[in-house]
């Protein structure tokens, strides 16, 4: 299973879990399953169209990807705020 690593506030929405193990074939599927397991996360990383929000970065094994990227069973996925999304 892929390991999804989360920071606040996503960690808090995932019940305080810094890591969540998910078995899915793509980043989009991983994030949808994350929402299914932790419904408070709905709408935070993926918008209503299933796209990763523009100011959220998803890295799979160190490579920045979007929702259609494939995920290996041993992958480590980081979901992080981008440096572009803060409020001035």
């Amino acid at each position: 299973m892929a390991t999804v690593k989360l920071r606040a506030p996503l960690k808090d929405l995932a019940g305080g879990n810094r890591e969540v193990s998910i078995d899915a074939g793509s980043v989009g599927e991983v994030l949808k399953e994350l929402e299914r397991q932790h419904p408070r996360m709905v709408g935070w990383v993926l918008d209503e169209h299933g796209h990763v929000r523009p100011h959220v970065n998803v890295f799979v094994d160190g490579e920045r990807v979007r929702e259609d990227a494939a995920v290996a069973r041993s992958a480590t996925i980081h979901v992080l705020p981008s440096i572009s999304g803060g409020c001035a």
Partner: protein, 355 residues
């Protein structure tokens, strides 16, 4: 004691104080640091607090809490259909409805969401969303936003909405169908003869609860009154130093009352003549009176945004509160006769509401 919910570009500030003391309010809490809080209210029916929070990273949502100094939880269901091109950008207004559990949220791009469980889950109003003109709706400078939701006291079937820049929309069947309510509005920003059916930039709209067929509106150039539930509009801006502005409140006990804060114009959105003045009418717009005792009157060029003006109570002891993008918040405990500084140097203020 009065509790103020001040939404800012840097979080929600919960202030508490006594308007009668004319002293600055104490800060009870700051929530959502680093996030934009567009709007916050307390539903007086349930005591539940709601905050519209826009994260630069994680998007917009409505949060709720039993105690604004405690934990906030996300509500669910706010978002456009997956197969539509629109994506939810901001939640501009949250308004209790006229039935148990009924609430409304106005959002950008312009849409109405309804909750029947007290604001915990939301559902898109499909009738407004399905308007054939929607593809032609144009935004104002603040975006294409549904910001004013005027309920009809005791009758959940009757609603009036204000959308920038798509005018007034009226429903007599609880939102199952909608029609325009724009007759009499003059969009001076359009060339003469242009079709102004939908390019109408409503800035704020309020219903007089004791005479619900009466509405007041701050328009993008002009202040108007309707005496037929929003079907037609009468200009009432004579006597104001400028007819541009965003904030508006009413005294709920006086159907002839409205209060606005004029700004110079759409190309210079600051208080007129460097003087911060609220203007009030008690004769339905026949005359306006400047209410400025205690407000800055020299070199004060403030911008007060659409939702940053609030009333508390009614009559001569009505509280009035407003905040500016300068981070200053002002208050009055005597319906605007005198003013005091509630708080200085907050973040730019988006909204002010009294709990």
């Amino acid at each position: 004691m009065t509790e103020l919910l001040v939404g800012t570009r840097k979080g929600l500030f919960v202030l508490e104080g006594d308007a009668g003391s004319e002293k600055p309010f104490e800060m009870k809490a700051r929530a959502f640091p680093g996030n934009v809080v567009e709007f916050a209210i307390r539903d007086p029916r349930t005591g539940t607090y709601f905050a519209s929070v826009t994260s630069g990273h994680y998007g917009p949502r409505v949060m709720h809490a039993a105690d604004p100094t405690g934990e906030w939880e996300p509500t669910t269901g706010l978002g456009y259909p997956e197969d539509d091109e629109w994506t939810l950008e901001r939640i501009w207004a949250i308004e209790p409805g006229e039935a148990d559990g009924l609430m409304y949220a106005g959002v950008a791009p312009a849409g109405l969401f309804t909750s029947t469980d007290g604001g915990m889950t939301w559902e898109l109003n499909r009738a407004l969303f399905a308007q054939p003109t929607r593809k032609d709706w144009q935004p104002g400078a603040g975006g294409l936003c549904l910001h004013s939701i005027a309920t009809w006291p005791g009758d959940p079937s009757r609603l009036a909405l204000g959308i920038s820049a798509v005018g007034v929309w009226l429903s007599d069947d609880g939102g199952a169908s909608w029609r325009h309510g724009n007759e009499g509005l003059v969009p001076r920003y359009l060339p003469e003869g242009a079709d102004g059916t939908i390019d109408l930039c409503v800035h704020n709209m309020h219903r007089a609860p004791l005479r619900p067929e009466r509405l007041f509106m701050q328009f993008h150039g002009g202040v108007y009154r309707s005496d037929d539930a929003g079907e037609t509009w009468i200009p009432i801006m004579d006597g104001l130093p400028a007819d541009f502005g965003f904030p508006m409140v009413i005294d709920p006990s006086d159907p002839d009352s409205a209060f606005v804060i004029p700004m110079i114009g759409d190309d210079d959105r600051v208080t007129v003549d460097g003087r911060v003045r609220v203007y009030g009418t008690r004769d339905a717009g026949e005359t306006w009176t400047a209410l400025a005792d205690g407000l800055p009157q020299e070199d004060a060029y403030l911008t007060i945004l659409r939702q940053a003006f609030a009333a508390d109570g009614q009559g001569p002891g009505m509280g009035l509160y407003f905040g500016a993008t300068s981070g200053d918040v002002f208050g009055s405990g005597d319906a605007g006769a005198t003013w005091f500084s509630v708080r200085e140097r907050l973040a730019p203020v988006n909204s002010v509401r009294v709990s």
